[in-house]
Amino acid sequence: MTRRASRSPLHDVVIVGAYNTRQAKQLDLDEIDVLLDAVHGALASAGLTLADVDGFNVTSSTQRLHSRQAVMLFGAQPSWTGSDIGIPAVIEAALAISAGLCQTAVIATAQVAAHRDNAKTAPWTRPGNEFVACWGLFTPAEFALMARRHMHLYGTTEQQFAEVAATIRNNGARHPQACHYGKFVTAEDVLHSRMVADPFHLLDCAMTSEGGAGLVLTSVERAQDLDVQPIYLLGGGTDKQGMAYVTAPVWDKFGQVGRRAAQQAFAQAGLTPSDVDVLELYDPFSFEVIRQLEVFGFCGPGEGGDFVMDGQLRMDGKFPAVTNGGLLSFSHAGLAQLLQKPISAVQQLRGEYPPELTVKDARVALTSNGGSGALFTDVLLLGTQRAAA
């Protein structure tokens, strides 16, 4: 700990359960069954049962089940029900626990059968707004407009994007639960994959898949009674700059989204980027990893491209990144993929990964959600020890 942590109610809360259901391009399962697996699996990984849970944030994407409906599946009468998604859902639940609204919360979600029409891109990539959709915009093009501006300003290259994509995909290739397990690629493979939205090739882009995920949070005190290694919340920030995919993604307005979130998270934790051992960065497109390295303070503006070419993000580098393979290779299912960033961090910090994916002696992980093309970026710092306030 390089600096003194500021007092934060997040420091009173730990993650005790983290679980991924089976992930696949298509699952031959009902979405509700996957959701139930996510909840029960997360609780089992914490050594808890439903009877221990008094906080719920449980949803499903395709069937649009929200938390107040989902609790009825469990006959539950929680004292707190959450409504946010991804990292903000983790922060929301932690604040509810630290405020005494509940003691133990489960966050879980699943998506099955949302995208089966391959003539179109995935429905969540197709904006409906009247000032966006008619131009043939979709998520890769929105993010490409940010990447292209960055290339213009700083000389960032497709080769640098390809290095990021190959590094992440080769982590997924080693992760037995990843959808693209065994699929190793080189940077050349990325550059030779077909163009989707210039400058993004197919292998620069997130995959589509199905699956679920769950997390269990409780108080530091309650966790002392459990037979699992607690992972501490060190700091967090949620940076939102308007609705995604309704307005032009202008780099000068929105390119720095997430800088404030990271600054808040590091200040709460009393840490700096050099204290981070593993980066579970959001990776919807390869370029976003480069952008996050800059806005989170791992390098200066425009230096992200050179930073990744030094191999620093690889498993043997200084900042191993997206160690489960991420959205590019592990899975990209509904809202579960947002939770899979902190889940991967928890599993990494607990030393649960296979040796070739293990970051030795990892104590601090940075996780993130969102991206410049979507006008939001959230950050959560997790660690094996409580923040030193």
Binding site: A119, F131, A133, W135, G136, P140, R149, H152, A248
Partner: protein, 137 residues
């Protein structure tokens, strides 16, 4: 903007009370944008109040329709099969200092570049909707 835009499966704008003046003006060959009567800020996409000072006094004013390509992407995989690839999507920075998404047409794919000077054109799609697009100036 190609012939496939006549396909009713295309995601054409469905004007709202807020955006209707913009789309109606496109039919007349005019690119209308909101401007604040209090602080002179240009506001796009349409809003119920000024995004700078929150004044409700927004006036619809004609844009020069001239600008430059701020950023672009050549799309090779369309979100729907009705779009014919490749096509250019772009963020256009208008001379007045506001930004909009659009297509750059009548431009070879290899010629599109950041800072390319462009000017607006209009293409009727149906009786209600005319889409603005940009061509090299």
């Amino acid at each position: 903007m190609n012939d496939s835009h006549r396909d009713n499966l295309m995601p054409l704008p469905q004007p709202t009370a807020l955006s209707r003046p913009h789309w109606d003006a496109c039919r007349e060959g005019v690119l209308l944008v909101q401007r604040c009567a209090q602080c002179a800020t240009y506001v796009f996409i349409p809003q119920p109040c000024c995004t700078n000072c929150q004044s409700a006094e927004l006036k619809w004013v004609p844009s020069s329709g001239r600008g430059r390509v701020y950023s672009y992407s050549v799309v090779h995989r369309a979100p729907r099969p009705q779009f014919k690839v490749p096509y250019i999507v772009a963020v256009i920075e208008l001379q007045e200092g506001w930004y909009m998404l659009s297509n750059v047409l009548e431009c070879p794919m290899d010629d599109v570049a950041i800072d390319l000077a462009v000017t607006v054109r209009f293409k009727p799609i149906n009786d209600d909707i005319t889409l603005p697009y940009f061509v090299p100036a």
